[in-house]
Amino acid sequence: MKFSRRGVSDEIPTSSMADITFLLIIFFMVTSTFAATRGLDFALPKDDKDPPIVEKEDSVLISIRPGGTLEVDGRPMQLSGVHEYLKRHLENNPVKPVIIRPEPTAAYGDMVRVYDTLRQLRLVDRKLVMRDDVPSLSDEQWEAARNINVSIPTQREIDQFWY
């Protein structure tokens, strides 16, 4: 009489693992995105019922025209010239607000360009500087330095509260 011995395999079957992992990879490749997850923060006022009244002569007004040209306090200016202009006006009066006023038909990207430039400026020892101007300053000291006071009023606010 013959006895047939059925041996139990001592290997874990891993042949389908490659299929599963490739399916997972394809899933993540298709659904994941490296879309931009960074941007400029723009704090909105807590309460717009009672905004601070800003007089024309107490502020620097940057108008953005269609095509990206700028007018600073009524004078045409390149974006690179804004820093020097603000130095003259803000170093004596650091709390002076800078108002960005894009025209309705101006491109949104031009507003971001101007806002980005203004956000890079800080007041260190009453001097209006960019980060590269003060390499000796530590990152903590730079973060603690005062930002300039930038506001971007909306058209409704301009209609309601503008001088």
Partner: protein, 144 residues
């Protein structure tokens, strides 16, 4: 005389390391996985300063032609008719979480009028902070 055994090339492709590579790829994708809630295709403006946008922030997108979409950051975005719909959406989101951050994903070339009205609606809805989504601007040659 003894004949030398012929050195036959191995016909098997070595795949033992494939599992390691594949698992590394999976780990990479799991870590960088970020489900896109808004599929609107826009050309973002460029900026030098860029801060990390909080995860699950509500998204408002505006395409070049002014089409608006909103998402609460959890579900896929839906097209809305105009800024008034953005106000009702933002009011609802802020009622649930007064500290909720919003992301504005607007096209570089969209007329500012569209963005202005959306920002105005967000102000009225008492949104505390809006992130203006942007791409990295090269520092050299920036400004102008």
């Amino acid at each position: 005389m003894r004949l030398k055994a012929r050195n036959r090339p191995n016909a098997v492709i070595p795949t033992a390391s494939m599992a390691d590579i594949v698992f590394l790829l999976i780990i990479f994708f799991i870590l960088t996985f970020n489900l896109e809630v808004d599929k609107a295709r826009v050309t973002l403006p460029k900026s030098v300063l860029r801060f990390e946008v909080p995860k699950k922030a509500a998204v408002i997108s505006i395409t070049e032609v002014g089409q608006m979409r909103v998402s609460d950051g959890e579900s896929a975005s839906t097209v809305v008719g105009g800024p008034e719909d953005v106000l009702s959406f933002a009011t609802g989101v802020i009622a649930g979480n007064p500290e909720k951050e919003f992301v504005l994903k607007a096209d570089n070339g969209v007329a500012y009028r569209n963005v202005d009205r959306v920002i105005d609606m967000l102000k009225q809805a008492r949104v505390p902070v809006v992130y203006l989504l942007s791409d990295q601007e090269a520092v050299e040659g920036g400004g102008g």
